[in-house]
Structure formats: C-alpha cells, structure tokens
C-alpha cells in the first residue's frame, strides 16, 4: 500500500445558476492538463433554480505518468474532516458547509464570499427575518485552519464577470492547489466561452483573495443627506437631549421637515418632551427616548398618497434609476409606476367631513376592498411627471386631510401608553414603543397592522398598566405578542399567543 499519496480535496458550495459546473470543469481541465489524476462529481439535478448545490473534486498531486500502472480510486462524496479547501459563493452556504462538518480547524482552508443571497424564509418574514450575520461570521472565523473572506458577488459585479471566475481566481491565489494560476487561466482560455470577462473575474478574484479583506458588516446602514435648514432645532437637540438619542432625533427632525415642514418637526420634538422626562425619571439613560423617537419619526412620516408622490417625483430619483440601469449620458430610458389607489386612498386627501361619509357609505356597500383603480403612469413623460408633482403639491393641505387626523389620533394614543408605562418601567415602555413597528404600509397591510396593535393594546398592554398582569410577565407578553404578530399575515400566531396569555393569567387568578 502507498501511504503517502493523498488527493487534494475541494468542496464547492454554490447556488444554482452561478456556474459552479463550469468552475468545476475549469479546475478538472487544468488538473488534467498538468497530468494529475482528477475526478469531480456533482448533484446538479434542479440546481439551475437557485437551490443550494455542491460540487466535489479530488486531485492527486502526482502526475499520472509518475504513478506507473497504479490508478487512484477517488471518492464521490466529500468526507467529514477530509476537506482541504471549501469555497462558498455565499455566506450562509459557507455556514452550511461548516455545520455539516466539512470545515475543520486542522485542515481546511475556507474561502467564502461575505455576500448574502437571502433564502425564502428570510425574505418572507413580515419584519426582519435575516439570519444573524455575526453568528455566521464567528463560525467562519472559528472553524477553519485559514480563511479568505471577501465579497465575491461585488468583486464579480465590479469586474463585469460571473462569480465562478472570481472563485477560480481566489482558488488560484490560495497556494493550496497543485496547479499554478497560469494553468488555471489556461483552462478558461481553452474553454473558449466569454474568455475576456472570465479572465477579468479571475484576476479580480486573485487580487481580492490576496488582499484577504475582512468581511464587511452584513447590515451596514448608509446615512441620508438632508438639507440643514432647521439648524436651530438641531442645535437645541445637541444642547439639551441625552447623547444616546441625539442622532435619531436629528434624523427625525430632518425627515419630518422634508415630509411636511419645520412646524411639523417642532411638533415631533414637543411630543418627545414628556418622553424625555419619564426617561430621566426611570433612569433609562436616553434609551427610552431614543427608541420612541425612532418610531415616532417613522409614524409621523406615515405613507399617504402625498408621500408616495413626493418620493416618485423626487429630483434625485430618476437619476438614481438611470444609474442602476447603467444608462449613458443622454441615453433614453422610461420609468413606469404601478399604482392602484382605492376609495380609501382618495379619501386620504379629503377633509374628514367629506371622507367619513364616503368611507362609511362604501363600507356598507362592500366597495372598500373591491373598488380599485389600477394605473400605470410613466414618470419620464411630461404628463405623468406632472401628475405626481401635483399630488406632491397637496402637502400644504395635508393637515386638513382625513388621514392626517386619523394618524395623529393613533400616534397620540400610542404615545400616551408609552408615557404611562414609562412612569412605571422603562423596559415596559420600550416594548410598547417597539409595537409601532406593526403599524406600517398601505391598504390592507396597514389595516392588518393597526388591528394587531389594537389587539395587543387591549389584551396585553392595558392589563399590565391596570395591574391585572404582573409587570415582568407583562413585559414578556408584549414582546412575544409583537413577535407573534410578525410571524404570519393571517394573524394565527398572534391569536394563539394572546389566547395562551389570557389562559395563563386566568389560571393564575383562579389559584
């Protein structure tokens, strides 16, 4: 038996449609050209359809000519703890390879793209369903012998190439393959398809891997530039508000000035004054103020027809879309919007005296969820643009609209709960403040969210504030009801959660 020859083993984790098969062929071809015995297998099946897929390669790093009559017998399945290189085109797939035991600290070089291609379960969550990026990053850092992590997807995009070429480049520069970078590049040339783009991606991948850039944080936020017309308000915030809440307050003031006017921004600050007071009393260190301020700004900039029109006709928007399309200067493009306002949307911009009877009448007739007016409007045409401009111009009448009155009433109710709770416990108040997340969106989404909030108010928040539910338990109850409300659009999880809560408190009362 020959003890010393062992194949170099490579596991490729990719998504269908990324060209993992082509990447595998390049590697196999390069190895064969060098005379190394090589074998690959794959589970391609229905992989073209963005499912997770793997390819497995074994290369014997001794030319067949030197092995004489001996022919290696290579494995078809990757082995636990038997992998030299794992390369993953996506961060969660790197995590999957680790969880499956293919990445080991004694042996494996893990080359992973820090980019995420979210899976369906993450995307369909009603709130934030994304998997904990830091957890994946820690697992990547803590389980391999060496790691090379960079954003392959961005590297590919910047180089105008497919991600598989970038992956080959990363493999070429890692120094663990028995083939040289030139030999791998030769495989791209021999393949003869999209050679220039693939070589660009290959070079970019090599460079990025050499630089071994640390993975960028998964949820980086970019700030938004606003005009600094209301500098005085900002100065007041900086002078008087707790440091922990200042950035949010400034952002809020700017947003509401842009949304409505400076007076509306002032209303925002006024509304927060009592919150600041209870925050201080409770010793929350600005935490309660910060969270309430964040949600209050979002709630006060609720999405009505005027807001949508403002956004659609924003001067920077069409330029941004042109950039996304890659339009050259002067190159014609068209942008078409999909709108389907209903009776409620029209009533949004009417005064309450007119809106209420119309809505009541429509509701009796069962029109509310039926009568919609679908339209496709081109913002790049003059008439289309004018329509949005005209709608956006209604901003100055917003305070007189039915929707404004409705929203402000809702905001006041919610704030009152936060303040009342804040007088007793900052934690409870923060949980209530967080419930503002439920009220968002348009049409049925908005109605569903508002109804959920009212349910939680009635069946969890009020009982705690009225002393029918112990405090600790109440805080948990509000938090879990809020989470449950975001589980499914049908509201089943929320009902179950609230039923369980009431059942439990009744049982306890009986005891």
């Amino acid at each position: 038996m020959s003890e010393n020859v062992r194949p170099v083993t490579i596991l490729i984790a990719a998504l269908g449609g990324e060209g993992g098969g082509v990447l595998t062929n390049w590697i196999v071809d390069a190895a064969a050209r060098c005379g190394f015995p090589v074998q690959s297998t794959s589970i391609p099946g229905v992989a073209q359809r963005t499912g997770a897929t793997t390819y497995y390669i074994e290369i014997v790093p001794v030319p067949a000519a030197e092995l004489g009559a001996k022919r290696p017998v290579l494995a078809l399945t990757p082995g636990l703890g038997d992998i030299d290189i794992v390369i993953a085109s996506e961060f969660m797939e790197a995590g999957r390879a680790i969880a499956n035991g293919f990445v080991t600290p004694d042996r494996t070089l893990l080359i992973a793209s820090s980019s995420r291609f979210y899976v369906m379960d993450e995307k369909i969550a009603m709130g934030d369903g994304r998997y904990d990026h830091k957890r994946l990053a820690d697992a990547v850092a803590g389980n391999a012998r060496e790691t090379i992590v960079f954003d392959m997807s961005e590297t590919a995009r910047a180089g105008g190439a497919m991600v598989n070429a970038v992956m080959l480049g990363a493999l070429a520069s890692c120094g663990r393959l028995p083939m040289s970078p030139d030999q791998l590049a030769a495989a791209i040339r021999a393949d003869g398809k999209a050679v220039d783009a693939n070589l660009r991606g290959f070079e970019a991948g090599m460079k990025a891997a050499q630089a071994n850039r640390p993975s960028p944080a998964g949820d980086g936020k970019c700030g938004t530039a606003y005009r600094d017309r209301i500098a005085t308000m900002e100065a007041t915030i900086r002078a008087q508000m707790p440091a922990a809440a200042q950035d949010i307050l400034i952002e809020g003031v700017r947003r509401l000035d842009n949304y409505q006017d400076a007076a509306y921004a002032q209303l925002y600050l006024d509304r927060l004054a009592p919150v600041k007071k209870v925050d201080e009393q409770a010793g929350a260190g600005g935490r309660l103020l910060r969270e309430t301020a964040r949600h209050l700004a979002v709630r006060m900039s609720y999405e009505d027809v005027i807001r949508v029109a403002q956004a659609k006709a924003d001067p920077g928007r069409l330029a941004r879309i042109a950039g996304e399309l890659g339009a050259a200067a002067g190159q014609p493009f068209r942008v078409t919007e999909f709108l389907k306002p209903g009776i409620e949307e029209f009533c949004q911009i009417l005064p309450p005296r007119l809106a209420r009877p119309i809505l009541a009448f429509s509701e009796r007739r069962g029109w509310l969820d039926r009568a919609y007016f679908g339209m496709e409007i081109s913002t790049t045409s003059v008439t289309g643009y004018l329509r949005f401009r005209a709608l956006a111009g209604l901003r100055r009448y917003r305070r007189g609209t039915w929707r404004y009155q409705e929203e402000q009433a809702g905001i006041e109710d919610w704030l009152a709960l936060v303040i009342e709770a804040g007088g007793r416990s900052a934690d409870l108040a923060i949980e209530i403040a967080e419930c503002a997340r439920l009220v968002k969106g348009y049409g049925s989404t908005h109605r569903r969210g508002s109804a959920n909030f009212r349910q939680i108010e009635m069946r969890a928040i009020r009982p705690v504030l009225d002393g029918r539910l112990p405090f600790r338990q109440g805080i948990d109850a509000v938090a879990s009801a809020r989470t449950a409300a975001l589980v499914d659009p049908e509201g089943d999880a929320l009902q179950r959660c609230l039923d369980a809560l009431e059942h439990k408190s009744m049982r306890e009362a009986a005891e």
Binding site: V73, A75, T77, G79, F117, Y131, G323, E337, G441, G443
Partner: protein, 713 residues
C-alpha cells in the same frame, strides 16, 4: 432543446486508442455506440437526461451508424421499444430516471422479460436516490428480482462503467434476458477518462435492414400457455446462464487484503466510498489496495453463489454494504451461506442504517462499528475507534456555532411563467377560502415550497387530475389539479382527462403550457413550438381537449395575475358541472432567455434598437412588510438593509438578475400592494424619435424642477 451539446457529440466520435474525457452518463452513451446498438430510446429525467439529449444532437453521427433514436413520450413507450429485440438480433438500449420511470415502464418490462430477448437489451437507470434526488426513495432492485432482469451496479469509474455496458449486452444475449445498468446520481456526473474504441454498426440496422419477420413462434409471446414455460425458463436456464457468464468474465471483482478473517461485500456503486472510509482508518490506500478483502458486486442481481461462498469461506464475519431498504443482498447472502452451511457471521443493516444514503459519515460510523464488533486479527480496533471519535467530535460544536440554518430548496427561475399562476391561486384563496390542490411532477411542484406552500398530494407524473377524482365528490369545494404540459403528454391526457370525462367528473385542471419538459432540461414534447429537426410536432393541447369533449376551457396568459385569479374564481364558483380546464400559457423563461439573449446580442451588434426592462422598488416607499415577496417568490426579488436609519426592517429590492417579466408589477396591482414598484426600460441603440422624445421630456421635466438623465455622481 435550446442548449448545445456539440462538444459532447465530438466525444462520441472518438476511435480506437483515443482518450475519452467526460461525465459518466456520456461514457455510457459512447459505450452504447461501441457496442453496436441499432436503436436507442428513453424518457428524459435527471440524472440521465443527457444520454438522450446528446443522442438527439448527434443525429448525423447516428445516421452514419444506422442507429434509430426515439424520444419517447413516457417510459412505458421506451420500454415497449425493447420489444424489437425479442425476435430479432438487434441490440438496443433505453434510459430513464428510476424508480419512477421503472414504475411507469413496469408492464412492458414484465412482458419483455418473460419471453426473453434475442438481441442484447439494456436499460440505463438513473438511480435517483440520496442527496439531490427528486423522487420517492425506493430501490430499482425489486424490479430486477421480480422480472428476472439482471442489475449491473458498476464501480463509479469510467473504464468499469464502459466495460459493464459492453459485457452487459453479451450477458443479455447469452442469458436471453434484459439487463439493467444502475447509475446513482453522482456516478452519472462523475468525470474521468477511458480509452475509447471505434463505434460499431449493428448487424442489422437502418443501414442493413431485416428482410422480414421470422416464422411465427408462439414462444416469443407473453401469452398463456407459454408464459408458464417462460417462468420455468427464467430460473432453469437463463439464471444459470447469467451466473456462468458473470463468473467466467469476472464481472464482479475481488480486492484481496491481508486481514482475511473478515471481509466486506459491497455493491459496485459504493466501492469508492468504502475504500475511502477504510483509507481514513489506515486500512486502504488511495489506489484501491485494502487490508481487508472486498468482494465488489458490479452485478447486484443475481448473486453468484459459488463466488460468494469462495469469498466467505474461512472468514469469521462479513459486512454487507447495501444502500436502502429492503436489504435484498444481505438476505440473499444469509440464505446462500446457510445453504452452504458456512458459519460466517453476516453484518449489514444494524451497524449500518436501514434507510438513507451511505454518505462518507455513515460509512465511517458503520465500518467502525463493524470492526469494533468483530475485532479482526491484527487490526488495532481501538485506534480505529479513536480516529472515528476524533472525526465526529468536531461536528456538534460546528453545527451549534452555525445554528439551524433555513433550507435553500430550488425554486422557480427568475421570470418563470408558472410562478404567477400560484400567486393567482394564493390570491383567489384569500377570497374563496382554501381549496384542495393536487400537485404533479414538474417545475410547478416548487410551489409546494415557501412562499406558496401549496399542494395536498403528489401522486406521480401526470397523475394530478386522476388523484383528485375521489376528492371532488367528497368535498364542498371543487378541487384544483395542476399539471404541466410535459405531464399532460406523459400520462395526464389518458389517466387524468379521459378518465374524468368518461366518469362525468367535475373539478378544475390547470395545464401549465410552457412548451417544453423544462424540469428535465428543456426537451421538446408533442405540443412544443419546435421539434428535434426544426419543425413543430404539431400537436396542440387545446385542440386535443376540445376533441375529447371538454366544454369549459379558458386560455390565460400566466403573467396576467388578476385575470388568472378571476378565471379561477369563476371556475370554482361556476354552477355548471363538468371538467373545467384553464390553460396557463407562457413560454419557459429559461428557454426564452437563452433565445432572446442571443437575439438581443445580435441586434445590438447590428446597431438595432433593443429595450432592456428591469423592475425596481423605491426604498422610501417600501414599508418592509414583504407582502410582495410572499406573493411572488422571485429569486430576483429579495431584501436589503433598510437605508433609512430610523427603520430596521429590511426593504424589498430587485437585483440585477431581473428579466423584466413584470410579475412584481402584476402582483402589486392584483393584490393592491404598495406603490413602490416601478418598471425601468433602457433603450439601447435608440432611434431618432427615441432621442427627440427623451430630450424634449427631459427639458420640460427639468423646467418643472425634476431631473431626468445623467446618474448622480
């Protein structure tokens, strides 16, 4: 078919001494030509689709060799083709995905195996088992046993696979029995090389036709009274002949080893995995030499009792490595050893799991358990145990560090025409409440995954309508059956539609008319708009259904979500009894993109006008509720971090892979979602009118305070 296999076709032309490099299934294809087949047929399905795909594209080469290729409409028609070899010295091969294809073919196979064959016949089975499989997990082995067909399970190594094909034909002819060649998924896709031989013309073929049928011979019919004789012939003549051939030609292999008080009996297809597991315990090397003797069954059925006895004689224990349930080989080994009165203990299921694929981890565990139990002389089993413990120690901690990851199943392609139908069903259900949905095989079965999670049963290819036959009469609401056009022609037309009409059934059938059997790799089928030789086959689903007597029929463009939902609601609510058919019409986007991209590139190169469409979402307007994703599920519609510092929930985002199918706009409209979607169209090589219009609009909007044009820096 839109994909080109030109490179693969070249590999089929290799001659004596040239080195073939490629995948396992292509090696089989080449081996068929080297064996002098006169005809080839099959029904596509992973992992054997390429065999037929490549054969179809190799039309010229096959013409020269006189090989007839048939792209059958289902596996039963493929199996029936083998009838040509019952009375004539014609070698032939057919292929399909197993177990499902073998199930469909079973009637013909039984009727083929009973009279037996004169010409060599081979059935190439893509054993869709284990990781990556898309069908129920059963073994093909039972079919071989019950019909007396021989089952080859070659070592996943190209020279061995090729040898098994070539000798398989001889085995078939010697024993007058059909032979099955069983290839697992990874074996079909394994790459390697072998030294090729010249292709051979069949003795009789399209180039040298038979003059006519032989004299009438009742013995060639599977019809009583000869069926009773045939049953006896199977066991008394054909089986012994097969065993003789297998033994003489050494189809099975013995790998000797110094620790010969124990041994391993392994099915050919699992040999490499077993050798690697042994290697990790220091009991084998990477050239296939082992310290423990191996008996490699390249022929899984029948077992050769003499060979088995010789291997087991003098051994205290053997381990049978056989994937899946039931343990046919293990049972047979036990019986043969009993008959020979050999006291060798037989291990198998027990140290190895009863169900599931034998992955590297499973074999490492099983071998360690076997060795710990039997303690072969000279093997430090404690060291083996320690090695196993070390290998497995890392896994729980690694898995815990990562956490439970959500799955990433395959899904409808970006722009798929079938996805909108499920958006429509979801919307219709909001109004009429849940309905029974009987699902079928095909891309549309991806609707069983999130975000649709639709479907109450899957009963097989083309079976959806038939599987709802007893649901409708027992339920308040009409059931809905989903069927692809592939499934319609494979089976659904007769099994489903004809049976429903014959029984004056009710219910709704949605036929996805995308023009190809897409899930198996975009093959043409009877109602495709094009065919193998360029011309459309000319069959039409709508005409066919009308001629059968379907009265209620609507054809709806799939992307029209609102119209589809309305049509479905009217079908559900209609007072009229009888089958209601909705033809959901939309070309497979994968095929369309392959065509359109090439056309666009050509137009661009010629300086002609091309419009590129992409959808987008306005971050500020998106509420982060993701209703749109729950109704669409498009891979290019995803989420991204919210750029707004005041909001934490991610917003929807359309990424570059968008093909502009328009579904997100349709869904936003049909479901009255948020107004954040927009369609952006970039005009490349714009004409004079495009430029003028754009310039005028840009100016005017500029005067109005807007900005159109150059991207912000």
């Amino acid at each position: 078919m839109e994909r080109s296999f030109a490179k693969e076709v070249e590999a089929l032309k290799l001659g004596d001494g040239e080195v073939f490099r490629g995948e396992g299934i292509l090696a089989v294809t080449k081996a068929l030509l080297q064996s002098g087949v006169s005809y080839v047929g099959g029904y596509q399905g992973a992992p054997v689709s390429h065999l037929i795909d490549v054969m179809v594209e190799a039309e010229d080469l096959l013409h020269k060799l006189g090989v007839h290729v048939e792209t059958c409409t289902n596996e039963a028609s493929a199996a029936a083709m083998l009838g040509a070899s019952i009375s004539y010295p014609l070698r032939g091969a057919v292929t399909w995905k197993s177990i499902v294809g073998t199930n469909v073919a079973a009637d013909a196979l039984s009727n083929l195996a009973s009279p037996g064959v004169l010409g060599g016949t081979m059935i190439i089975l893509g054993e869709d088992y284990g990781e990556g499989a898309s069908v129920i997990q059963e073994r093909s082995y039972a079919f071989a046993m019950k019909s007396s067909m021989w089952l080859l399970d070659p070592r996943p190594d190209l020279p061995t696979i090729v040898r098994c094909v070539e000798q398989g034909f001889e085995l078939s002819e010697t024993s007058h029995s059909p032979v099955m060649l069983d290839l697992r998924i990874r074996a079909c896709h394994v790459t390697g090389e072998f030294v090729a031989k010249n292709n051979r013309r069949g003795d009789y073929s399209g180039l040298n036709r038979l003059s006519g049928p032989p004299r009438f011979d009742y013995g060639r019919l599977s019809h009583p009274p000869v069926t009773f004789v045939q049953e006896r012939l199977k066991v008394e003549e054909r089986l012994p002949a097969a065993r003789r051939f297998i033994r003489e030609r050494k189809l099975n292999e013995i790998i000797p080893g110094e620790h010969d008080d124990v041994g391993i009996v392994v099915l050919g297809g699992l040999t490499n995995s077993v050798l690697r597991a042994l290697e990790r315990y220091g009991l084998a090397d990477c050239f296939g030499a082992s310290r423990i003797p191996l008996y490699v069954l390249n022929v899984a059925y029948p077992l050769v009792p003499e060979e088995l006895r010789e291997f087991c004689a003098g051994k205290r224990a053997v381990l049978v490595v056989e994937e899946g349930h039931p343990d046919y080989v293990e049972q047979a080994v036990n019986v043969e050893l009993r008959r020979a009165d050999l006291q060798t203990r037989v291990f198998g299921k027990g140290v190895l799991p009863q169900a599931g694929e034998y992955s590297s981890a499973v074999l490492l565990k099983g071998l360690a358990a076997f060795l710990a139990e039997v303690k072969p002389a000279g093997i430090d089993t404690e060291r083996v145990g320690a090695t196993a413990a070390r290998i497995f120690a890392h896994v729980p901690a690694a898995a815990a560090a990562v956490g439970t990851l959500p799955p990433r199943p395959p899904t409808f392609c970006t722009g798929c025409p079938e996805r909108p139908v499920f958006s429509a069903i979801k919307l219709a259900q909001r109004e009429v409440g849940p309905v029974h949905v009987s699902t079928d095989i095909g891309c549309h079965s991806f609707a069983t995954f999130a975000p649709f999670s639709l479907g109450n049963s899957i009963l097989g290819y083309g079976m959806s309508l038939a599987s709802a036959a007893a649901v409708g009469p027992n339920m308040a609401k009409r059931p809905v059956a989903i069927m692809g056009d592939g499934g319609f022609w494979h089976n659904g037309l007769i099994t489903g539609v004809a049976s429903n009409l014959f029984n004056k059934g009710d219910g709704i059938l949605i036929v996805m008319q995308n023009g190809y059997t897409s899930a198996t790799g975009l093959q043409f089928m009877p109602s495709s708009k094009a065919g193998r030789s360029g011309n459309a086959p000319g069959m039409d689903i709508e005409t066919t259904l009308r001629s059968l007597g379907v009265k209620w029929m609507r054809k709806v463009r799939t992307y029209s979500v609102a119209k589809m939902a309305a049509t479905l609601k009217s079908a559900l609510g209609s007072a009229e009894r009888g089958l209601k058919v909705i033809i959901a019409d939309g070309e497979c986007q994968l095929a369309r993109q392959r065509r359109v991209r090439a056309e666009d590139a050509a137009r661009l190169a010629k300086g002609q006008r091309v419009v590129r469409t992409k959808f987008g979402v306005d971050d500020e307007i998106c509420s982060g509720d993701h209703s749109c994703i729950r109704l669409s599920g498009c891979p290019s519609l995803t989420v991204k971090p919210n750029p707004d510092p005041l909001r934490t929930d991610p917003v929807a985002s359309v990424i570059d892979s968008c093909v502009g199918c328009g579904l997100c706009g349709e869904v936003a409209h049909a479901a009255v979602l948020c107004p954040s979607f927009y369609r952006a169209e970039l005009i490349r090589n714009p004409g004079l009118w495009d430029r003028m219009l754009f310039t005028v609009r840009r100016r005017m909007i500029g005067w109005l305070g807007g900005r159109v044009g150059e991207a912000a820096a």
